[in-house]
C-alpha cells in the first residue's frame, strides 16, 4: 500500500516536473515564476537647498550567482522535515554540511557589521536559522570574519584580550544538544 503511494507520489512529481520543464524550456529564461528580486538603496543628494533622500529599487547583485536545489537534480536532499508536504527551505534542500570555517557561505547571512540577518530576511527555516546564527557567532569568535565587525572592534584577532587572543575552533555537533529525557517524567515518554 505504502509502496504504491510512494510510487504514485513520485509519478505525480515527475510528471509535474516534466510539465514545469516543458513550460520553462520553451519560455525565455529571464522569465521566472517569482518576481525578479530587487533591492533598495537609499540615496541622498542635494538639489539646491533641498536634501533629497530617495529609495531606489535595484536588481539584486546576487541574482546571477544564486544556487538553488531546483536547478540541480540532487540525488536526495537530506532534509529533516517530518512532513513531506512542507517545502524544505533552500538551505535544507541544498543539503550542504556547512561548518563554521566556511566563511564564504556564512558571510552571506550577515550585515556588514557582522550581525546575523533576521529570519524574515534570510527566509530560512527555524532550524537552519538557528544553526547558521550559531555558526556565524562561532566564526566571529574564531576571528575568521574579523572584517565584518563593528568599527570599534580590533581588526586583528591576536590583539584581543586574555584567552580571546588564542586560536579557537568549534565543533558543530555542539549546536543542537540532544534532549535528554527526564527519568521521572513518565507521562511524556
Amino acid at each position: 500500500m505504502s509502496v504504491s503511494k510512494i510510487n504514485m507520489a513520485a509519478l505525480v512529481r515527475s510528471s509535474f516536473g516534466l510539465f514545469k520543464n516543458s513550460i520553462l524550456n520553451t519560455a525565455i529564461r529571464s522569465l521566472s515564476t517569482s518576481k525578479p528580486l530587487n533591492i533598495k538603496e537609499i540615496r541622498e543628494h542635494k538639489e539646491g537647498t533641498k536634501l533629497v533622500v530617495e529609495a531606489v529599487s535595484l536588481p539584486s547583485p546576487r541574482k546571477d550567482l544564486l544556487v538553488r536545489a531546483d536547478n540541480i537534480d540532487l540525488p536526495s536532499s537530506n532534509c529533516e522535515h517530518e512532513s513531506s508536504v512542507k517545502e524544505p527551505c533552500y538551505m535544507c534542500a541544498l543539503g550542504l554540511d556547512v561548518k563554521h570555517t566556511d566563511v564564504l557561505i556564512l558571510s552571506q547571512f550577515v550585515r556588514s557589521d557582522g550581525c546575523m540577518l533576521p529570519r524574515r530576511i534570510t527566509g530560512l527555516c527555524r532550524r537552519q536559522q538557528k544553526k547558521i546564527g550559531k555558526m556565524v557567532s562561532m566564526a566571529q569568535k574564531a576571528g575568521l570574519m574579523i572584517n565584518l565587525t563593528p568599527a570599534w572592534c580590533k581588526k586583528d584577532p591576536k590583539k584581543r584580550k586574555d584567552y580571546k587572543k588564542f586560536n579557537t575552533y568549534f565543533d558543530e555537533k555542539t549546536i543542537f544538544w540532544k534532549r535528554i529525557p527526564d527519568q521521572n517524567d513518565k507521562w511524556k515518554r
Binding site: 544564486l66 544556487v67 572584517n147
Partner: protein
C-alpha cells in the same frame, strides 16, 4: 653478519626526523598522532623493546587551537609539595607563560607512564614559531600531516573572489542594503 646485512639493518632502524606544523591544530588530538611517531608505532617493525622511535619537531606551537571554551575552562594543576602549595593555571595563562607547554604536556600525557616515556620525550622538539635552529631543521626529511585544515580568514580572501563566490541567500525585494 655480512656487510650487506649490516647496512640493511642500519637502514631498517634508521631514525627519521619529522616536522609537524601545529598551526590551528588541537594539541590533544595531534598528540595522539605525534605519539605514534615518537614511539615508533608507525613502523611495521615496532616492538616495545626495540628502539625505533623517530624524532618530531613541532613548529608554530603558539598558534595551536583549542576547542570551544577550553582556553578558559581547562586548568593545569601543580603542587609544590608544601602545604597550601597547590595551584591551578588556566590553559590560556599557561600558554601566555610558555607557548610550548600545552602541547608538550598533551603529548606527555598521551603516552603510557613507564620508564621509557621520559626518554621518548627527549626526542621531541617544540618551537613556538617558525624559526627553528638550522642544525635541527637540516635533519628533517618528512612532514606529518595535520589533522585539521587551517581555516582561511575572510579578509585574507581577495575581494573579487568573495564577490564572485556563488550565493545561497538572496535579499528580499524591499531590503535596504546596509
Amino acid at each position: 653478519m655480512s656487510a650487506f646485512k649490516r647496512v640493511q639493518q642500519w637502514a631498517t632502524f634508521a631514525r627519521t626526523w619529522h616536522v609537524f606544523d601545529c598551526k590551528w591544530q588541537d594539541p590533544y588530538d595531534s598528540a595522539q598522532v605525534i605519539k605514534k611517531y615518537l614511539m615508533g608505532l608507525h613502523k611495521p617493525i615496532y616492538h616495545p623493546t626495540n628502539d625505533c622511535g623517530d624524532v618530531v619537531v613541532c613548529i608554530n606551537s603558539r598558534d595551536i587551537a583549542l576547542r570551544g571554551d577550553e582556553w578558559r575552562k581547562r586548568a593545569y594543576f601543580h603542587h609544590t609539595g608544601y602545604p597550601g602549595g597547590a595551584s591551578w593555571t588556566l590553559a590560556w595563562e599557561l600558554h601566555n607563560k610558555d607557548p610550548t607547554m600545552i602541547i608538550r604536556k598533551a603529548i606527555y600525557r598521551s603516552m603510557k607512564g613507564n620508564l621509557q616515556r621520559r626518554h621518548t620525550m627527549e626526542r621531541l622538539f617544540i618551537f613556538p614559531g617558525e624559526d627553528v635552529p638550522q642544525d635541527i631543521m637540516q635533519n628533517v626529511t618528512n612532514q606529518i600531516r595535520q589533522l585539521r585544515l587551517v581555516p582561511t580568514r575572510l579578509d585574507h580572501i581577495p575581494e573579487e573572489e568573495v564577490q564572485k563566490y556563488p550565493k545561497v541567500m538572496d535579499y528580499p525585494q524591499d531590503y535596504v542594503l546596509k
